[in-house]
């Protein structure tokens, strides 16, 4: 139906468009821009079509009693943002009546608008300003008192509301209800007194509140951190990637005079569409934070001394050279792919060490992705778009909205369409159950268990699946026995798990080729020492239930996936080739440090002393470490324990790539020069290699990436020329898919 084409005419130009397409979109196809405020293609039309700015004149064919057809003009102008294209429609967008109508609407919008553009953040990029300039009346006829309301009313720690400027377009309220799903914004009162509001006593605590600032067509919803900090025309914009989680939102990084100013979303239909989450939107201030390091530091007794790069590099090269195989590397989950590739070359090729690990949780040996199937592609993380089309999504110990914000939005979108069922497994008292943005309220099945009960739930699920007729032939006898005994045990979650099993069978039914079920393991479950068993049990449950699915431990940090892919791991090389000999994992490395078996440790972009699953153990090990070098942006607790601290460039200060949660290699571009005295991490690694007599020569990040693409088959389709603005998923490239 929707793909049927209809013939319409806009301003005399005939064109074919999909039946039911909104006329405002059809007009764009032929370059006719219809002014609008409330319209937004991703927001519901139910509560839209309210600003009345997009009026057009419409005539439709009408059948006469004698069978002939005449064109009947509709007596009233129609809102093109909500008018579906129908066969034979004739649209006029620039008639005198429409021009007058627009002027009238703008006059209405302006009578109560404070017109304080000179002190408004939105000034210069304001749809109300722009439309007024193009279509508005030159002066006002309004002589009455304007509406007065408190300015800059704080809705949350991030967002303020200037109710005087609001034009009541309902974009923010629709976003909150339709997209974020927390419905924290609504309208109070009616008529000219109507106002946007949170509920009494509540704050706008949505994890996605920042998007409403970008959606607001006036300066009514404003960012507290950006307020009064710049005028749009003074800002420069660079294409970048958010560094605050693994989802890799495409962002526009606005900067001024070499300093970070703000984040806006950059469109990428496959990743973040046009959204960001608040962690990213308001979390990137560190780029120009006051604590940025700008020079290498070397420990002299109890204090650090600022030194030049030559001296710092000489010192690190000396120590690493002496340690040789007894050097180790931890972290790297915030470094670029280029940094990581060169770094692992330094350790493996120059120092002869296999002791590298990016994982700092207690369950080191967990496979990154367990596909129900075999081989390399089974390790490929699923795509974000794929989430929308699932029939069942199981969030397992994962606070989705917080940990995987864009994946959360995709799952919600699939649920809203009606075909996706959600199940949520989490500990009692999970933050998710309190949060406004959460899958919990829309989960068809909710399993809540005690601390550490993840494996028990997984076994119970497998047991239920087997009892309800699942195919147990591929399940190891020992596991099947454990599962059977888990089902017989009493437990508060027994009924919920039974329903989960039923839901699983249900999801397996009408499913065709694609994966229909996904289980995402979150931080709470990742910190369970039994993670490998949990993963094995869950994937056994999926295959026993006969569903085509995947159990995934999605990456959480910005380049955690890149660190996996590029072999920052003791047992595999870049591209998941087996490492021979295998090295030691992070727990073993720290134990070896404590035993004096490792002479030099390099920690990159990771505050191990606070982030390690056992922080005290980490501190003890670091204290006994003969030589510790740390690369980071600021002097973290870990850096304070180092012998040498090397300051590195931020995402805004260089070119490079990160690989996001779905294995999409994405570029970011240099926005401004780094502070003097700060270097790129891979250049540091290459310089150290050179000092040790091995040339790892690259002229640029681009060359490093080209080399990765040439040497690592997994990334063969992700070379610098292939990536474009939106990046490429290596799994898609391997499968020969184009575009994604």
């Amino acid at each position: 139906m929707a793909s049927d084409l209809v013939n319409i005419t806009i301003n005399g130009t005939p064109l074919q468009v999909p039946a039911g397409e909104m006329i405002i979109e059809s007009a764009r196809r032929i370059g006719v821009e219809i002014p609008h405020f409330c319209y937004h293609p991703r927001l519901s039309k139910e509560a839209g079509a309210n600003c009345r700015m997009c009026l057009v004149e419409v005539a439709s064919p009408r059948k006469n009693p004698d069978g002939s057809v005449t064109l009947a003009k509709m007596p009233k102008p129609q809102t093109s943002c909500s008018l579906p294209a129908g066969e034979g429609m004739v649209i006029e967008t620039e008639t005198p009546a429409i021009i007058e109508a627009r002027r009238g609407i703008l006059e209405f919008l302006l009578i109560n608008h404070p017109l304080d553009c000179p002190i408004c953040d939105r000034g210069g990029e304001c749809p109300l300003q722009n439309n007024t300039l193009h279509y508005g009346p030159p002066t006002t006829r309004y002589v009455e008192e304007k509406r007065h309301l408190p300015k800059a009313f704080p809705l949350s720690e991030h967002v303020v509301l200037d109710r005087e400027r609001c034009i009541h377009c309902a974009r923010c309220t629709r976003f909150a209800e339709d997209i974020a799903g927390d419905a924290q914004l609504g309208f109070l009162k009616r008529g000219a007194d109507m106002e946007v509001s949170v509920r009494t006593g509540e704050q706008f605590t949505s994890l996605f509140s920042g998007n409403t600032i970008e959606l607001c067509p006036v300066g009514a919803l404003l960012s507290r951190s950006y307020r009064f900090r710049g005028r749009p025309w003074d800002l420069m914009t660079q294409k970048s990637i958010c560094t605050e989680c693994s989802n890799g939102c495409n962002i526009k990084l606005d900067h001024r005079a070499g300093r970070f100013v703000r984040v806006n979303a950059r469109l990428n239909e496959d990743v973040n569409e046009e959204w960001t989450c608040d962690r990213g939107k308001f979390g990137m201030d560190y780029l120009s934070g006051p604590d940025r390091l700008t020079t290498p530091l070397v420990r002299r007794g109890n204090r650090f001394e600022a030194v030049g790069w030559d001296e710092a590099i000489r010192r690190v090269a000396e120590e690493l050279g002496q340690a040789g195989r007894k050097s180790a590397f931890l972290g790297g989950i915030r470094s670029s792919n280029e940094d990581l590739f060169v770094m692992q070359r330094l350790f493996r090729e120059v120092l002869g060490s296999s002791d590298l690990d990016h994982r700092v949780g207690p369950s080191f040996d967990a496979e990154p992705v367990i596909g129900v199937g075999q081989g390399q592609v089974a390790r490929a993380p699923m795509s974000l778009v794929e989430l929308e089309g699932l029939s069942l999504f199981i969030s397992f110990g994962c606070d989705m909205a917080w940990e995987q914000p864009m994946a959360y939005l995709r799952v919600r979108k699939g649920w809203r369409r009606g075909a996706l069922t959600i199940a949520s497994v989490a500990r009692h008292g999970t933050a998710e159950d309190e949060r406004p943005s959460s899958l919990a309220p829309i989960s068809a099945v909710r399993v809540r268990h005690d601390e550490g009960g993840e494996l028990q739930v997984a076994l119970r699920l497998l047991g239920e699946v087997l009892r309800q007729g699942g195919d147990g032939t591929a399940v190891p006898a020992e596991l099947a026995a454990k599962a059977e005994s888990a089902v017989t045990e009493q437990g508060a979650d027994a009924e919920a798990v039974r329903r989960l099993a039923l839901t699983l069978f249900e999801a397996g039914k009408g499913a065709s080729d694609g994966r229909s079920v996904a289980v995402w393991i979150g931080e709470a479950a990742r910190t369970n020492r039994q993670l490998p068993d949990i993963l094995q049990t869950l994937s056994a449950a999926l295959s026993a239930a006969g569903v085509h699915g995947v159990v995934q431990v999605p990456a959480m940090e910005v380049n955690e996936q890149g660190a996996r892919d590029l072999g920052i791991a003791p047992t595999w090389l870049p591209g998941y080739e087996q490492a021979d000999p295998a090295g030691r994992n992070s727990a073993e490395i720290l134990a070896a440090v404590a035993q004096g078996d490792i002479a030099a440790l390099w920690i990159s972009g990771l505050d191990l002393a606070t982030r390690y699953s056992d922080p005290a153990a980490a501190v003890r090990a670091l204290e006994s470490c003969p030589f510790l070098v740390v690369t980071d942006l600021s002097l973290t607790k870990t850096a304070q324990m180092a012998d040498v601290v090397l300051p590195v460039t931020s995402v805004a200060e260089r070119n490079g790539t990160y690989t996001n949660v779905e294995g999409r290699v994405q570029r970011f571009w240099k926005a401004y020069d780094p502070p003097a005295g700060v270097r790129q991490e891979w250049r540091i690694a290459a310089q150290i290699a050179a000092r040790l007599g091995t040339e790892i020569h690259y002229a640029s990040s681009r060359e490093v990436l080209a080399d990765i693409a040439a040497r690592v088959p997994l990334y063969a389709g992700c070379g610098p020329d292939a990536l474009g603005d939106g990046g490429v998923r290596w799994a898609s490239a391997l499968a020969g898919e184009v575009g994604r």
Binding site: K45, N50, R52, I105, F108, V143, E144, A170, R190, A192
Partner: protein
């Protein structure tokens, strides 16, 4: 022509609001006959009667009824619009209070004809007594088997629920009413050509029939005595009788049932004639319709077509007569206040325009009018009319525009002299 009581035939019978009395005067015979007929034949009878919606727009009732996809396996709903918020209109209130069974019977017939098993009566929140009467009638109807499991033993199920509004005129607009009924903000929803009609997708996206109280109350008579009988009353295109709520400067304000096509003067005479002065103006169909000068009233007949031809509308039948003590500018000040207060706020022209007009009226009647204000008011009316989301915006502009066109000299007087052309004791007062 003249007074003709069909709905009101037994209005004054003591106890008519109770089941026994209502049955004793032929009540529920229409329903009893309907359930012996096919659904199509019931709708056919309504078609023959020529009944048009009494909520204001005069839309042919049978077209709505036959638009409900009665064979689809989905749920369907029947809704009675008893929000009656139009200033000057109070007929539905009395129908529900005195003749609640007639409304219930009409709804049960509609439920049968559209194959719906659930009905809602959305009653204006202030109408507590009417709601109580309806509530009691519903209980009595369940007890007699006119509602519930098997309506009149037909096997057709029909349950009827009362829902009270919370005090919003806009919630009488059918799509806003449905939003409100579903627990959402009382704002209208999209209609054709932007979205399907309520008969296709209404309450909870299910086919929904919505009619006015009086429309439903007429149906039992049509079913009991035949569509042809009903069509024998009224004019060529406005069939049957209509209730008028007569108010203003008349001796006997109240509800009157007249045959459609009755001369306007006759209705005034029925209500005891104009008091306190000579007739100056009439608003024949509720505050939303254009005002007529006494001159224009002459010879006008009260049916849909004649009113249209005279430059106004029959509307909901809220008939207001004004004598020559009436200050038209003050009257419109009160009207403008009403619409500014009742605008739901959803769309720009109505939200901003109604408040702006009210402000201008405040200024004019405070003696601060400017010569350009009258044209400004006209221009604002033009900028609202036809551009708002729902008809409330249009309805806010029509009376004001008509009053300027027909009584402009009174505006000019206010602006020039800063006081009423009618004198200090003019009506209405402005609170």
């Amino acid at each position: 022509m003249g007074e003709l009581r069909v709905l009101f035939e037994h209005r004054d019978v003591p106890g008519i609001e109770r089941m026994d009395v209502y049955e004793s005067v032929g009540g529920y015979q229409g329903l009893a006959r309907a359930v012996t007929m096919s659904r199509a034949d019931v709708i056919g009878e309504v078609k023959t009667s020529g009944l048009r919606g009494r909520g204001g727009a005069g839309f042919p009732t049978w077209i709505k009824w036959s638009g409900i996809p009665a064979d689809q396996p989905t749920e369907r709903y029947v809704v009675c619009n008893a929000d009656e918020g139009e200033p000057g209109t109070f007929k539905d209130r009395e129908l529900m209070l005195r003749l609640p069974h007639m409304v219930v019977e009409g709804l049960a017939i509609a439920g049968y004809a559209t194959n719906s098993s659930t009905g809602y009566i959305y009653i204006r929140g202030e109408f507590l007594e009417s709601a109580r009467a309806v509530r009691r009638a519903i209980d009595e109807a369940y007890a007699r088997g006119y509602l519930g499991e098997s309506v009149c033993g037909s096997g057709h199920r029909f349950d009827l629920h009362v829902h009270m509004g919370a005090g919003s005129y806009e919630c009488g607009e059918e799509t806003a009413l449905m939003s409100s009924l579903m627990g959402e903000r009382g704002q209208p929803r999209a209609k054709p050509p932007h979205a399907p009609l309520p008969v296709i997708s209404g309450l909870w996206q299910r086919p929904t029939l919505i009619n006015n109280v009086e429309t439903y109350a007429t149906v039992p008579h049509i079913l009991a005595r035949g569509g042809a009988w009903y069509a024998s009353m009224g004019t060529e295109r406005s069939k049957g009788t209509k209730l008028f709520s007569v108010s203003g400067h008349v001796a006997k304000p109240g509800n009157y049932e007249i045959e459609l096509g009755t001369p306007l003067e006759e209705l005034i005479a029925l209500a005891g004639g104009v008091v306190g002065g000579d007739l100056k103006a009439v608003i024949p169909g509720g505050s939303s319709v254009p005002i007529l000068t006494a001159e224009q009233c002459r010879g006008v007949k009260l049916d849909y077509e004649s009113c249209m031809a005279a430059g106004t509308m029959l509307g909901s039948g809220g008939f207001m007569a004004f004598n020559d003590r009436t200050d038209i500018v003050k009257l419109m000040h009160v009207t403008a206040r009403f619409y500014a207060h009742e605008s739901c706020g959803k769309c720009t022209p109505c939200r901003e325009g109604t408040r702006w007009m009210y402000r201008i009226f405040q200024r004019i009647t405070a003696g601060q009018g400017r010569p350009e204000d009258v044209d400004l008011l006209l221009s604002i009316c033009n900028n609202i009319d036809g551009r708002s989301y729902c008809p409330l915006g249009d309805a806010a502009s029509w009376p004001i525009r008509a009053s300027i066109q027909r009584f402009r000299e009174e505006y000019d007087y206010w602006i020039e002299h800063g006081r009423s052309p009618v004198g200090d004791d003019s009506v209405p007062g402005i609170g």
